[in-house]
């Protein structure tokens, strides 16, 4: 197993993550990833740190001293066409050159054009899950563009037939996100990534001091409300229990990524330890990268979920007929009583 761990971006956090990794002997942890520079481009998810090249270089060197790879995530789903202007081309090409000079090991992108641009560099080109690779066909397209690794669409995390077909269709490395807490087949997914892509970019008018602020993150608020009203949606989310990673290894996927780079460093460390040890006792929502309101509201007993992967592996995903997750919800999920 190779485990990839999020890094919020500030150097002190990296030191603490590495300190725990080494103290606990977590040799499965092989890589950390952090967001790139908002001044250059946004990101598909919340970005709380503005990493300069010098900062990235220093942190990469530190990671290497501790036998860890460094991946920089620059995965906006929308650049508003700027990347296809000469100005944008020059900026992004230069940025990739700078990352390469900083000795970064890999770059995660969602934009297909960037995958081609990255062919000129020795850095590993990783396709973000935001590129929604959900079929052998799509995986082949991205491999042909130059992908070294593909993080598959989380919507297929529990579709083993498709996962296995992808492993057979491409030669590049595949990885799965283990703890993304998004709604299965979320109707907001593309729109939400697009929103983040713009609001995390310093170039966006939404980041300018005089611009009107957006009135709310509609998708975020709506997603929480939907799950509070229908908690079975929490069970249907395509997270993977630490104990179930072996099922993925059995079909040839041994590369796992923990999501949650916008979370507190101790939260990240807890996730790292649980997934590296393949074991967790307690409320599984503590490991899931989901709004903290859900953790405060619900308790999802990880032990009671034992064996559910057998159903999900062969599930046809026709929830209206199946109802397995609804029945499971009643058994494993309860509202916190205070």
């Amino acid at each position: 197993m190779r485990l990839v761990v999020p890094h919020p971006g500030h150097f002190a956090a990296l030191k603490e993550i590495i300190e725990v990794k080494e103290a606990e002997g977590l040799n499965e942890v092989v890589e950390v990833y952090m967001a790139g520079s908002p001044e250059v481009m946004g990101s598909g998810r919340a970005t709380l740190h503005s990493a300069r090249i010098a900062d990235i270089k220093e942190q990469t060197a530190y990671a290497h001293q501790h036998d860890l790879k460094m991946n920089i995530v620059v995965n906006p789903s929308c650049l508003g066409g700027y990347h296809l202007t000469f100005e944008g081309y020059k900026l992004f090409k230069r940025y990739f050159e700078e990352l390469n000079k900083a000795d970064v090991d890999g770059v995660t992108v969602a934009e297909p054009y960037f995958i081609e641009l990255l062919r000129d560099f020795s850095m590993e080109t990783v396709v973000s899950c935001i590129a929604h690779v959900d079929s052998p066909q799509r995986a082949e397209f991205f491999e042909d563009l130059g992908a070294d690794t593909i993080a598959v669409d989380t919507n297929i995390n529990r579709n083993f037939a498709v996962l296995e077909a992808i492993t057979k269709a491409v030669n590049c490395d595949l990885k799965v996100l283990v703890n993304e807490g998004c709604l299965y087949k979320c109707p907001f997914r593309h729109a939400h990534f697009n929103l983040f892509s713009h609001i995390t970019s310093s170039r966006s008018s939404l980041m300018k001091a005089q611009s009107p602020n957006i009135f709310s993150d509609y998708y975020f608020d709506k997603c929480i409300s939907m799950r509070v009203r229908d908690p079975s949606q929490i069970i249907r989310s395509p997270w993977i229990r630490p104990e179930d990673m072996q099922e993925y290894e059995a079909i040839g996927i041994n590369h796992f990524k923990i999501s949650g780079r916008a979370n507190a460093v101790n939260w990240i460390i807890n996730c790292m330890v649980a997934y590296a040890r393949r074991s967790f006792n307690g409320n599984l929502l503590e490991l899931i990268d989901c709004p903290s309101e859900l953790r405060y509201t619900f308790h999802l007993d990880n032990e009671l979920l034992e064996g559910s992967i057998k159903q999900w592996k062969t599930c046809k995903k026709i929830c209206d007929e199946c109802r397995y997750c609804d029945e499971l919800t009643a058994k494993v999920l309860r509202v916190h009583e205070k």
Binding site: P8, G9, H10, A12, A13, K15, E16, P38, A46, T47, L48, H49, S50, T200, S202, A262, N263, A264, V265, N266, W267, I269, S292, E293, R295, Y296, T297, K338
Partner: protein
Amino acid sequence: MKEEIIEGRRRLEEELRKLVGNIFVPEAKVFGMACGCVGFAADLRGLQSDAVEVFTEKINAILEEISESVGVKPEIIYARKLPGSEEVVVLTTRDLCERCRNEFAGSKAPPRPDIMMLKKKRRR
């Protein structure tokens, strides 16, 4: 309580203006979270992280007084920056629940890059 919050907002704004210059505190509130944390938070405009670094002790003293006046004994005091910038947008005092004590105050590093930890009391 209403009077104390109003007075707390006014006083924080006044003290920050004395220390730093033109600072605006548009809103102050006492909050209680589902997890069990309670706290006092003041939204800010005009304050930057370097000023917070320079005046940390004075800001802590002011916030501690205001916080206690609204019934919150602060276990931690922190400033939250606008991600990717040096603009400080909220100052918060918080009495932590068990869960957040580990997650928020249990690391040597600031819990997140947008958080400046100004004060962390030892666990009682």
